[in-house]
Amino acid sequence: MTIEVSAETRLGSFKLDAHFVSDGRLTAIFGRSGAGKTTLINIIAGLLHPERGRVAVDGSLLLDTEKDVDIPTSRRRIGYVFQESRLFPHLSVRHNLLYGQWFTPRARRYAAFEEVVELLDLGDLLGRGPPQLSGGEKQRVSIGRALLASPRLLLMDEPLSHLDDARKQEVMPYLERLRDQASVPSIYVSHSVAEVARLATSVVLIADGRVAASGPASSMIAKIKRQALTE
């Protein structure tokens, strides 16, 4: 399973020019705020359209500005766990979870409802509405919702950044389970060394819109720790 991303675009005075290839189970995109991490994964999801770029996941071409290929977001099959969870406020947890399954043909579904509920411990939450969930619970539901659409790649945009430390510790084990048990690779955006060190199998270090370094987590962790120290 290979993820290949290349994007060049300008947003105001910010310039993104990033290229990377990864075949990790959980690829962390690491960098400080404003480095272009979210811009980059929005391009992968098709929520942003770069001036020039190419995105291919497991051999499927999703974007290639040179060949005029730009598959719309709804047909890319890329799950997205947003920073602020973005659960549908008018639907119960159960119906939030089932939302994506509805648009996935039966033959393509690999995530079973019961399995995902068990993986993320969502059983007690199913009947509630999003306003009745804690921040950590919202993010777990949000991960479950993305998984149940059976995506080929899961994007997570700092899913823990809005949570306090206790909540972070509560959600972290689920992210590890997701990495080890779910049959989908993830891209995990973060500016936290601790999260990256604990979760990532490979790391892409991004600074000022460019990829500064990338490689397997074993060789990258020391590098990002050093960078974090110099900040």
């Binding site: 098709g46 977001t73 709804s74 047909r75 099959r77 890329i78 549908f88 406020p89 306003p131 993305a146």
Partner: protein
């Protein structure tokens, strides 16, 4: 004092029918125009906005007269509709419905437009990443979240239609059993000696219906808003 004559019952039922038809028939257009005004960016947007709002500020007699010129039997639109579709509006109850719909339209569009502007577009993006195409995003996310505005808009339009006088009497006159609505009948009673009791009776009914509509709208909107309150 409390028994209604046949003429009065007829006028009340006609008013209800006119208001219901006017509201139901204009609702799809109201949603469409509100969407275009809230989301669209095109040349002539302010002009469309002014056109939609104009019945609010024009004297109703002017609106009624314009309708008569356009949709009257010899009007450019009226003669075409009569010839090709067999639709005649002038001096018919259907014409009263058209007049009421035009007068209620700005209130309806305004309420719906405001509710579209508060729908979080990030939720629409989330739906797209789960596989929902544009039409499904609209039907399953945007439309339910703007429901409070749609209900408020429909009820305001209904209440306006129940009370419409100037445009109705100018366009379709005041024919008992055909175009004599509650307000035009009250007007008739105030013009004849001894009509005071009947006018007063109908005035009470008119006040009750209008206040009831507003109260129902407020209660309904409050209950829906509780349900879809953003996280």
């Amino acid at each position: 004092m409390l028994t209604l004559t046949q003429q009065e019952t007829e006028a009340i039922l006609l008013s209800l029918r006119v208001a219901i038809v006017a509201t139901a028939a204009s609702l799809p257009f109201g949603i469409l125009v509100a969407m275009v005004l809230a989301r669209g960016q095109f040349f002539g947007r302010s002009l469309l906005n002014a056109l939609v709002l104009s019945p609010l500020v024009l004297p109703p007699v002017v609106t009624g007269y314009v309708l008569l010129l356009l949709l009257g039997r010899h009007g450019p639109l009226g003669s075409w509709l009569a010839e090709y579709l067999g639709l005649v509006f002038a001096f018919r109850w259907t014409g009263a419905a058209v007049a009421c719909a035009v007068m209620g339209f700005p209130l309806m569009v305004r309420a719906i437009q405001l509710s579209i502007e508060v729908v979080d577009r990030k939720l629409e993006q989330a739906a797209a990443t789960l596989g929902a195409g544009a039409l499904w995003v609209f039907l399953t996310v945007t439309l339910p979240l703007m429901a409070p505005g749609i209900i408020a808009g429909a009820i305001l339009c209904f209440a306006r239609a129940m009370g419409e006088f100037g445009a109705t009497i100018t366009f379709v006159s005041n024919i008992p059993g055909e175009t004599q609505t509650l307000p035009t009948l009250i007007y008739t009673f105030t013009q004849v000696p001894g009509g005071d009791t009947a006018a007063l009776r109908l005035t009470f009914i008119s006040i009750a219906v209008s206040l009831g509509a507003i109260l129902a709208s407020e209660a309904f909107v409050a209950s829906v808003a509780r349900k879809v309150r953003a996280e």
